[in-house]
């Protein structure tokens, strides 16, 4: 970054995700690292990669896989404000999303196999423009109440 920002940057949303999502992301990274390790092993076996390089790649992948989830967790935030849903995520690639309640078409909660293993839910919000926002790592109650709350305030304005 070049020098200090010239103004107050956008205030980040207040609410963090459920801590268990960290476990979920670590599990996902572990699976990815395992895949990379297998790939490197095969490449080494077929003489495409020298052994030290293969080990280095796996170590870097493992290091990143361990470090990225906590950073990601710290940077993920959401907030239900007076008139809209506000989320912010990412450090390298930052994305901030704002969805006014009266533009929401419908809300759904999803649970993939990994989510189920950690008893977490993803909340997905749709507007007329398509899928507008997604919040991963919500506990049972939180996800349910958010879905109900957002559906309640969702747009009644006709198309």
């Amino acid at each position: 970054m070049r020098g200090p920002p010239r103004h107050d940057p956008l205030k980040a949303p207040a609410q963090s995700l459920d801590r268990r999502v960290l476990g979920l992301w670590w599990a996902a990274s572990a699976a990815l690292v395992a895949l990379i390790a297998i790939g490197c092993g095969v490449a080494w076996f077929l003489d495409f990669l020298p052994a030290p390089l293969a080990v280095l790649i796996v170590l870097v992948a493992a290091g990143l896989g361990g470090l990225v989830p906590p950073v990601r967790y710290r940077l993920w935030a959401y907030e239900i404000r007076a008139h809209d849903l506000y989320t912010s995520r990412g450090g390298l690639f930052v994305t901030r999303t704002l969805i006014p309640f009266d533009r929401i078409q419908f809300v759904e909660t999803r649970q993939g196999p990994l989510d189920r293993a950690f008893s977490l839910h993803q909340l997905v919000v749709y507007t007329a423009a398509g899928q507008a926002g997604r919040i991963p790592g919500l506990g049972d109650e939180e996800a349910g109440s958010l879905r109900e709350e957002l559906s309640r305030v969702a747009g009644t304005v006709s198309v």
């Binding site: 103004h7 930052v94 704002l98 006014p100 533009r103 507008a132 198309v159």
Partner: protein, 470 residues
């Protein structure tokens, strides 16, 4: 108020029987006719099938009734399963009056009604006398009846003369597409056909350079001719009229089509200027309508509001449609900061470096010539940077971008569905950010704003969206 019953309603024009017969026939009947040659029992069965196919439209016509009351349309029909559908005028997205060749033969038109959220055409009255179609359209959109024989003079916003259409055809994007297609077709032609022709020309003393120039010129001419013909046929007598808060678009030579869209259904209006048109001071205008179903090509055609015209005409039309002040509508856009140019130049340098290295590795030192890609890449970067512009302080947000086709999009604030701010690593280095406006069916990107500006814009638009909340 009691919903009007359709049973006292009207039947379609008898030509509907023929239209349905032709449509069914296209779907299955024609394939059966050759089988008649088989003979024996099969032939009898097939004949019976054909008779049923011929009778089905008659029964369908007998059962089909519609009733147009002010603001609603009731349609009922069905031979085995009876159905009845009430269409409230308030839910109607668009009404199209179509006249294909098969309608033309009987002097009738088809009326198609599309409803917001519907998956396709909600109701199709396949054959109506033109005056009757007009009456149904008016009654559904609760317009007053036409005064006098010549329908009440709706102000004409656009009327394309054949000359305008030729200009549109010659400068349109179709030319490029057709040229590419011709390129493919050429490969299908037998090889010796082209090479022997070339040899004959060389024998007559036509030089190699002239041969190349001649064939390229011929190629372009064919592409132009096809594009011209296609444009003139699909857009023949293209007219846009404004009737109250609705737009009526009429067009087509072989297939006449009259579409109606309510102004408040327009999600965005886009000023399109391709390279050629920009050089000539021309532009075209398209609109984004939510809930429009149908094939993509048809969608594209229907969303066209001005095939081509001077930039001023186009802007005046946009102002009229948006109900905005035409002066300075697309002027004084905030251009992208210099850092955005650097970011694009960085990508261009990356491309040139990759090309150069690939050249050296693939060939030898002479391959370094590939570094010359840097020049056009840098020019493209500069042009892309110049094209960027935005303006979010008005009731209509304006976003401009694009090198080959420069698109200036105008969106009314209430049509914005969601809002995004994204920052990539290179953008962070240049203190830039991208603002993404979600409108139905697509997302408009205001790329590479100054970061502070983008953040301020994000808050400003979010506040304005909130105010709209009751």
């Amino acid at each position: 108020m009691r919903a009007p019953s359709a049973s006292e309603g009207a039947r379609l024009h008898p030509a509907a029987i023929a239209v349905w017969f032709i449509e069914d026939g296209r779907r299955l009947g024609l394939g059966l006719i050759p089988l008649l040659a088989i003979g024996g029992r099969v032939r009898l069965l097939l004949l019976a099938g054909l008779v049923v196919a011929a009778l089905a439209p008659v029964v369908r016509w007998l059962r089909f009734r519609y009733h147009a009351a002010p603001g609603t349309l009731v349609v009922e029909g069905g031979v085995v399963n009876r159905w009845r559908r009430t269409i409230p005028g308030a839910r109607v997205q668009s009404i199209d009056i179509v006249q294909k060749l098969r309608h033309r033969a009987f002097g009738v038109v088809e009326l198609r009604i599309e409803v917001a959220g519907g998956s396709g055409t909600e109701a199709a009255l396949v054959a109506l006398a033109p005056e009757e179609a007009e009456r149904v359209r008016r009654s559904l959109s609760q317009e007053g009846p036409a005064v006098g024989s010549e329908a009440m003079a709706a102000p004409v916003l656009v009327r394309m003369t054949p000359r305008d259409l030729m200009l549109a055809g010659l400068t349109g994007g179709r030319v490029a597409i057709i040229a590419v297609l011709l390129g493919y077709l050429q490969q299908l032609a037998p090889e010796d056909f082209i090479s022997s022709g070339a040899e004959r020309l060389v024998d007559r003393g036509v030089g190699g350079v002239w041969l190349v120039i001649g064939s390229v010129a011929g190629f372009i001419l064919i592409a132009l001719a096809i594009s011209l013909a296609a444009t003139v046929v699909t857009l023949w007598e293209f007219t846009v009229e404004r009737s109250g808060d609705r737009l009526l678009v009429t067009r087509g030579l072989l297939e006449r089509r009259r579409s109606q869209v309510a102004l408040h259904r327009l999600q965005a209006v886009i000023l399109q200027e391709n390279v050629l048109r920009r050089a000539l001071g021309l532009a075209s205008v398209t609109v984004v309508v939510a809930g429009r179903a149908g094939p993509r090509e048809e969608q594209h055609e229907t969303s066209l509001l001005l095939p081509t015209g001077t930039r001023d005409t186009a802007l005046a039309l946009i102002a009229e449609v948006l109900g905005a002040d035409p002066s300075g509508l697309a002027e004084n856009l905030v251009s992208a900061p210099r850092a955005a140019l650097w970011r694009r130049l960085a990508y261009a340098a990356l491309v040139a470096a990759a090309a150069g290295i690939a050249g050296i590795v693939g060939l030898d030192a002479r391959g370094a010539a590939a570094f010359a890609v840097a020049a056009p890449a840098a020019w493209a970067a500069w042009a892309a940077w110049r094209a960027l512009g935005h303006r979010i302080d008005r009731p209509h947000l304006v976003v401009r971008r694009g090198v080959l086709v420069r698109q200036t999009s105008f969106v009314a604030l209430p049509n914005i569905q969601d809002l995004r701010l994204t920052i990539s690593p290179l953008q962070r280095a240049g203190d830039l950010a991208t603002l993404v406006l979600g409108i139905p069916k697509q997302r408009l990107k205001a790329v590479d704003l100054e970061r502070a500006q983008a953040e301020a814009g994000f808050e400003q638009v979010s506040d304005r969206l909130s105010i709209a909340f009751p």
